[in-house]
Structures are given as structure tokens and as C-alpha cells.
């Protein structure tokens, strides 16, 4: 059994490791260990690579394995972590224009007042949407990833989309929710447990 006690780096943010990764991949000497997200925080586990290398992880406390982590490297091979794709919900908050103004004649003062009110209304609406979405997802103890205007969180079944549409029915004109399967890595500090 090969023992892994430290993470050497990640091919996604280390150009040197990425270059080596490409070389090992080309030479068919790259090995991957696929883990579920639920295993990413394990500091002791035994896994087999796709080429049957027997690997025992004994890592420092609070180590968090990530997709692309290099856990073994020598002249003959590189072993990296691959996170399994999982089912997620992607909630999109529709965008609002802050610069949109209405034209009701030539009274510029009225127009400016209306624009300020409109901006305030848009801000209030976004705050309202953000708090309600955050409250609902938080109540269900889901980890989160924010990607631009998308809020991504794991679900166990596509049917859960209907649950969230119902829970957030007040906001139906302002959000869209769909399911997808992808590698989900929560934002730091939002990796809570899930029920």
C-alpha cells in the first residue's frame, strides 16, 4: 500500500504540476483516484487508483481534498484526485438594470427622482430575493457555491427542483432553477453538512 500523508499541489493552480500532468497523461502514466464530495474531508481512507494502485491516506487534520490535487509524484507516475460529478440545483437570479430610466416628458427633475426611486426599488428587490433564497437554502443545510449570477447547491433527486420552486414561489418572476450534474466544490466557509 502506498501511503499518502501530504498534498503536493493542484494541477489547476500550479503551472509546473500542470505541465507534468500533461506529460504523464500523454505517456499514459497518469493515475486518478475518484472520490465523492463526502470523502473530500476524510483524513484517513484507503482507495484504489484507476490503475489499481492501493493508496492509504493518512492526512493532517482539516485537510480538504480537491479536484486536481496531486497526491503522488515520482519519475514513473503521477496520481491525482478526481471529484465525482454530482447532481446539483442551479438557481439563477435574473438581472436588473440599475441604469434603466423612464421618459415622461422634459422635466429632468422628475426623471431623476423616478430613476433614484427605481434604483432603490431594484436594490430592495435584490436584497429581498437574496435574503429569501439564502434563508431557504440555509434552512435545508445545503453547502453553496456562487458562480457569477448562479447559486449552486447539491440535491439528491431532480424532484427537489419542484420543492425549491414551491418554497420560493414568491420569487418565481425573479429566479430560475434547473438541475445539472457537475463537479461541485463549495465556496470556502459554505461547506456545511447536508441533510
Amino acid at each position: 500500500m502506498l501511503t499518502v500523508s501530504t498534498i503536493l499541489g493542484n494541477i489547476k493552480n500550479n503551472p509546473d504540476l500542470y505541465q507534468k500532468y500533461e506529460s504523464f497523461l500523454k505517456n499514459n502514466t497518469l493515475e486518478t483516484i475518484t472520490i465523492q464530495r463526502s470523502e473530500a474531508e476524510k483524513v484517513r481512507m484507503r482507495k484504489a487508483s484507476d490503475k489499481k494502485t492501493d493508496v492509504g491516506f493518512i492526512l493532517p487534520s482539516r485537510t480538504h481534498l480537491r479536484d486536481g490535487d496531486v497526491v503522488f509524484l515520482d519519475d514513473s507516475k503521477m496520481i491525482i484526485i478526481k471529484l465525482s460529478p454530482e447532481l446539483v440545483a442551479i438557481l439563477n437570479v435574473k438581472k436588473y438594470s440599475h441604469n434603466h430610466s423612464h421618459s415622461h416628458g422634459n422635466d429632468s427633475q422628475d426623471n431623476n427622482t423616478e430613476k433614484v426611486n427605481h434604483d432603490h426599488n431594484s436594490d430592495d428587490l435584490l436584497t429581498n430575493v437574496a435574503i429569501k433564497v439564502g434563508h431557504t437554502i440555509g434552512n435545508l443545510h445545503r453547502p453553496l457555491k456562487i458562480d457569477k449570477n448562479n447559486i449552486i447547491f447539491p440535491i439528491q433527486s431532480p424532484d427537489e427542483i419542484n420543492l425549491f420552486l414551491r418554497l420560493l414561489s414568491d420569487l418565481k418572476d425573479h429566479i430560475e432553477i434547473r438541475s445539472d450534474t457537475l463537479i461541485f466544490e463549495p465556496d470556502q466557509g459554505f461547506d456545511v453538512h447536508a441533510h
Partner: protein
């Protein structure tokens, strides 16, 4: 990681599924192989299970010192003490590690809970989820984090399947599907049938087939 960190397994499952009895069958098997085990047992309001294991495993059979079976009354939802805020369990584990560094393994039993039970990775390295056939053969396909994502699913009380009309073949078929390659074991914790397989999973995947510390030192 502290060099004194002792491998830990968590055992969770519904009330009455056989968590305590599984431990009572596991410890003698592991002890026979030379592995020394400590037990932390969570209950909601009592220390019933810890008292029973202390009496059966320590006092009467002498398989371990009495102070290596510790009961914790969590006072709230059982999963809270092993997942959301496992600090009370971690503090007891660390105390056990300090006082008994010779231990090979620490078993942490959750209080009886539902099918979404999981253990915090900060508390347990390996999670065994146990269900029993008395809930019907639909149980595995009803899914839930415990059934789907545990490191090992144990299906207990196979001896009563015929009495309640549960088909073990259906349970096995569904367990295979929902666990997507993860292992499962059928057991009868009353007689010990199948429990050796559970011990083998622990020795391989948690202890990495290492000899007991008492043997390795000699």
C-alpha cells in the same frame, strides 16, 4: 495530524436497528485478532447502551477495561452530536487517545436517528450505517445519505426476514443500485452471522491491514 491520532469509526442507524449489538459482536472478533478497542456511545437522555456494553464486554467478559466504554447523553437530536457540532465527542476521543495511546481503534456509536444520519469527517474516518429488515424490503431503495453514502451499509436481523415478508434478494438488488459500488453486508447481530465480514472491512479500510499495536511493538 497528531501522531497519537487513533483511527475512528462511526456507527449510525435508526433506533433499534442493532448498533449496540453490532459493536458487542465486533469487539470480540477484533480482540481475538489482537486489536484493542475503545467505545464511545451516544444516547439522547440515558447511558443505557454504554452501561450495557460495559457490563457485557468489560465487566463480564474482560475484553477491555471498564473505563474504555464511555457514555454520552447528548440531550438533543443525535446527529447534532456526531455531525453539526461533534465537539463533545471529539473531546472524549482526544481524552481517550491521551490516556490510552495503545488503542488500535475507537468506535463511536450515534444515538438512534433517521436515514439522513452521517458523521462529521472531523469525528469519524469510516462510517457504518446499519438498518434492519423489520422496516420492510423497501428500506434500501428509499435511499437517504446514510444508506447511500456510508462507507459500509450493514443490513441486520436477516433471521426475521421470512416472518415479516421481507425479501433479502430485493434488499440486495436495491442496495447495489443505490450504493453504486459501495459495499454492504447482511448480518444477524444476535448470532454474529456476517459480522466477521464487517470486521474484515474495518481491518482493511480503517486499520490498513496493520498488525495490532501490541504486536507491532513486540
Amino acid at each position: 495530524m497528531s501522531l497519537s491520532r487513533i483511527p475512528r469509526i462511526g456507527i449510525g442507524g435508526p433506533v433499534g436497528s442493532g448498533k449496540t449489538m453490532l459493536i458487542e459482536q465486533l469487539v470480540p472478533i477484533l480482540k481475538k485478532e489482537g486489536y484493542n478497542v475503545g467505545i464511545i456511545s451516544n444516547d439522547v437522555v440515558s447511558r443505557e447502551d454504554a452501561d450495557r456494553m460495559r457490563k457485557n464486554l468489560a465487566t463480564e467478559r474482560g475484553l477491555m477495561p471498564e473505563d474504555l466504554v464511555i457514555g454520552i447523553a447528548t440531550g438533543g437530536c443525535p446527529h447534532t452530536a456526531v455531525r453539526e457540532d461533534p465537539s463533545i465527542n471529539i473531546s472524549v476521543v482526544e481524552e481517550m487517545e491521551t490516556k490510552h495511546p495503545h488503542l488500535d481503534l475507537i468506535i463511536i456509536e450515534s444515538g438512534g436517528d433517521n436515514i439522513t444520519t452521517t458523521f462529521s469527517p472531523a469525528l469519524a474516518d469510516y462510517f457504518i450505517y446499519i438498518i434492519d429488515v423489520s422496516g420492510g424490503d423497501k428500506y434500501p431503495r428509499k435511499r437517504g445519505l446514510g444508506i447511500e453514502t456510508s462507507d459500509l451499509l450493514v443490513i441486520n436481523k436477516i433471521d426475521i426476514a421470512s416472518f415479516i415478508g421481507a425479501d433479502l434478494n430485493i434488499m440486495e438488488r436495491d442496495a447495489k443500485i443505490v450504493r453504486n459500488g459501495r459495499p454492504y453486508v447482511f448480518v444477524n447481530s444476535k448470532t454474529g452471522e456476517g459480522v466477521k465480514k464487517v470486521a474484515e472491512h474495518i481491518v482493511k479500510n480503517v486499520l490498513f491491514d496493520a498488525p495490532p499495536k501490541s504486536v507491532a511493538v513486540n
